[in-house]
């Protein structure tokens, strides 16, 4: 049985990329071919060419400067050569199905008028969110962009809270004051949800700075890692480079995760970037840059493990470029006319959920009925979330002026529970603070 298991593993789970040509020993020499880019021959990005499992993993790693990322990992389970255990596999499957069903339900609700404003859906990119975030602990932080529903869900924010927030109800995770693009959760350490691209990167770098500061200055036992998620368009923005520089300079515990879905609204990545290989920007700043197939949750998870462990050990940041794709338009208001249908069809065949399902079934990690049970369960969770959100009240009018400041009076509350500025001795300057 072990032999046949190994034999099965030898084929990578995503064996659909038959269009890869054999002569790509060095993809750096492949020049831009915009016309062929839009079709299935996306040689520019695929570098997975080898067959055996161990070297397959190292082949996905195109780090130019760091040996750390290239080193071969010891299998956690020497007997089976599989990448995940059954529990882990099911957890990943459930998380991805939750992300997909939730986003599909968002689309439905939007067209029924229950959700409004800007809604950016994550369909197709679930492998990146699940692959990375499921490796984190509660105290680790996630910082995202406006496409943040699924990041919040993966990190543990309840589906009910996210759905209510989208409906603008007071039971949402931000009491209806944030909205689709601003998911914050202190409990789960989701630090937003930012509308401006690139805005989250310095904030994530700051959270990583705090981890390091806590460890070195405050002498706390802190090895929290921060993940910053952002897209291909952001990689041309000044703040991205500023943060790559400072994170590498100060060796901050952060992983920069690029969700390269090749399109920034209607602007193709190739039209906007002088050198479209984003992973190369890492070594320019002194950190490893890695490219990974973002439609395969297992590959993403392997790279994520390395990058996160690296950060926890204090060795500094990593730049991980995940090649992925969004099945829907940029937002629900986007007619999505510029993308070539054949490109969409190509990526639809690489759907991460289908691929994981196939892997689990082929490797006997789960049975069909278990997976269907998970799907049913998620359906119920999402329906329940919608019902909850529907029945929740809208914010009271008095909520408008709340929470502008943490302390509106400017001084905080003293130990006796009263506003400090009302203590006359305080303003005289002799009170104890």
């Amino acid at each position: 049985m072990a032999c046949s298991a190994t034999a099965k593993i030898i084929q990578p789970p995503m064996s659909i990329n038959s269009t890869r040509s054999p002569d790509k020993s060095d993809n750096c020499t492949k020049l831009l071919c915009p016309s062929s880019f839009l079709g299935p021959n996306k040689k520019l990005f695929s570098i997975n060419k080898t067959i055996s499992p161990l070297s397959r993993r190292s082949a996905t790693v195109v780090a130019v400067s760091s040996d750390v990322v290239k080193k071969k990992k010891v299998e956690s389970n020497p007997v089976s050569n599989l990448l995940v255990t059954k529990e882990e596999g099911l957890e990943l499957y459930e998380d991805m199905v939750l992300g997909r069903s939730f986003e599909d339900m968002c689309a439905q609700m939007y067209y029924r008028g229950k959700m409004f404003g800007f809604v950016h859906l994550y369909n197709g990119q679930e492998a990146v969110s699940t692959g990375f975030i499921k490796l984190l602990g509660n105290r680790d932080c996630v910082v995202s962009t406006y496409r943040d529903h699924v990041h919040a869900l993966s990190k543990g924010v309840p589906a009910r809270a996210v759905m209510s927030e989208l409906f603008g109800k007071t039971t949402g995770c931000c009491r209806g004051q944030g909205g689709s693009m601003h998911m914050f959760s202190k409990e789960h350490n989701v630090l937003g949800g930012f509308a401006f691209i690139g805005e989250g990167i310095p904030v994530a770098t700051g959270a990583a700075f705090t981890s390091k500061y806590r460890r070195e200055v405050l002498k706390e036992d802190c090895d929290d890692v921060t993940l910053a998620f952002f897209g291909d368009g952001t990689c041309n923005n000044g703040q991205f480079f500023e943060c790559l520089n400072m994170a590498a300079l100060w060796k901050l515990p952060i992983v920069f995760v690029v969700e390269n879905n090749l399109w920034a609204i209607g602007m193709s990545h190739l039209r906007a970037t002088s050198d479209p290989q984003i992973w190369k920007k890492g070594p320019a700043f002194g950190m490893p840059g890695v490219h990974v197939d973002g439609m395969d949750v297992l590959k993403v998870r392997e790279i994520a493990k390395e990058a996160i462990t690296r950060a926890r050990r204090g060795e500094g940041p990593t730049l991980v470029e995940c090649e992925t794709y969004r099945f829907r338009g940029h937002s629900l208001a986007d007619p999505d006319e510029l993308r070539d249908p054949s490109e969409k069809a190509h990526y639809a065949t690489r759907d991460p959920i289908t691929a994981l399902k196939k892997y689990l079934l082929e490797n006997n990690l789960a049975s069909e009925s278990e997976l269907i049970a998970i799907e049913k369960k998620i359906e119920e969770v999402v329906e329940d979330a919608v019902e909850f959100a529907d029945e929740s009240p809208v914010p009271a009018r008095s909520q408008l002026l709340e929470n502008v400041f943490a302390d509106p009076r400017g001084f905080g509350i003293g130990p006796d529970g009263k506003y400090r500025c009302e203590d006359p001795k305080f303003t005289e300057g002799t009170a104890q603070v």
């Binding site: 931000c174 937003g192 990167i201 700051g206 703040q239 400041f405 905080g412």
Partner: protein, 321 residues
């Protein structure tokens, strides 16, 4: 910084250079490079890093070499710092201070001389403080660092060199001033002059000269632009019945405009004369020393306006032409 190890200073030249204007002199030796962090020239980057650190539990003080450079980082000040407590419904508060010199210096040209008080003061979620004297600087900065919300602390480069008498109370280590309260620097009964930062000094000088001519001016040092101390200003206007606001920044949509409008709203019946505002000239700051001098309000401008009033000045200027 000595009271709370979570407070740290970050900015350009704050460490080894001892501060671009020597404000952070000695701090590097005392607290070390982990707490006094020299950054590369990346305003947007390090301001965002400060905001992220504040989200996650530290109390950063971010220094801008001048507030003109804060324009490179203004997205973080407004969008990720000021608005976060609201957008997260109180979950994430941002105990950060953005400080640095603001307004005109001497001969530094248009791109280094703008006053940002009006820009930041219009944004809900920020507190904007402007010290004048040493007592103000000490008390307000301590209050700002202890405050759990984002504070924009606008200093003035020319005031760095001025000395002020301070009381022993001020030197006490727990001395703080309340945010949102203005100070009446000089009591008077004929006219109220509101000012902040450097203009307070000019207003006081003008008040001295006016006193010799029998006009008693009440000078209010605003200290806190947001929240504005409307009650002190209105109480003063109700007493004196006349208002002049003085500021260094551009006149349109400035601090004076806000004060005048709020006094009209609250104390219209008490006014004996139209409200007047004195502001900088409506031009980017010129370089030539004589032009620079007339682009910023001077003591003579305050005197002339107080004695004569705007309509009469304009009439005389038009006649002169």
């Amino acid at each position: 910084m000595s009271a709370d190890p979570k407070v740290f200073l970050m900015g350009e030249e704050v460490g080894e250079y001892q501060g671009a204007y020597k404000i952070s002199k000695g701090l590097l030796e005392k607290y070390g490079p982990d707490r006094v962090v020299d950054t590369p020239i990346t305003e947007a980057g390090f301001t965002g890093i400060g905001v992220g650190a504040a989200y996650y539990g530290l109390r950063p003080v971010i220094e801008f070499m001048t507030f003109n450079f804060s324009m490179q980082a203004i997205d973080h000040i407004i969008n990720s710092a000021a608005k976060s407590n609201y957008m997260s419904a109180g979950q994430i508060s941002v105990p950060i201070v953005f400080r640095g010199p603001n307004g005109a210096a001497a001969g530094v040209g248009a791109q280094h001389s703008q006053c940002y008080a009006a820009w930041y003061a219009s944004c809900p979620g920020l507190k904007v403080l402007v010290p004048y004297s040493s007592e103000d600087a000490r008390g307000l900065l301590k209050a700002a660092i202890r405050d759990p919300d984002p504070v924009v602390f606008l200093e003035n480069e020319l005031l760095y060199g001025e000395s002020f008498p301070v009381s022993a109370e001020t030197l006490d280590s727990s001395f703080c001033l309340p945010i949102g309260k203005a100070k009446i620097e000089r009591e008077g009964k004929d006219v109220t002059i509101t000012a902040f930062s450097k203009m307070v000094g000019y207003a006081l000088q003008a008040a001295d000269i006016l006193a010799k001519e029998g006009i008693s001016a009440e000078v209010i040092n605003l200290r806190s632009i947001r929240p504005l101390d409307r009650s002190t200003i209105n109480a003063s206007v109700r007493k004196t019945n006349r208002l002049i606001t003085v500021e260094e920044g551009f006149p349109q949509h400035g601090i004076g405009a806000e004060i005048c409008a709020s006094v009209l709203e609250d104390s219209f019946e008490y006014l004996d004369a139209p409200v007047e505002r004195i502001a900088g000239a409506d031009v980017p700051m010129p370089y030539a020393a004589n032009l620079e001098r007339i682009s910023v309000p001077q003591v003579e401008d305050i005197l002339q306006l107080t004695k004569v009033g705007r309509r009469l000045i304009c009439k005389k200027t038009n006649e002169a032409e």
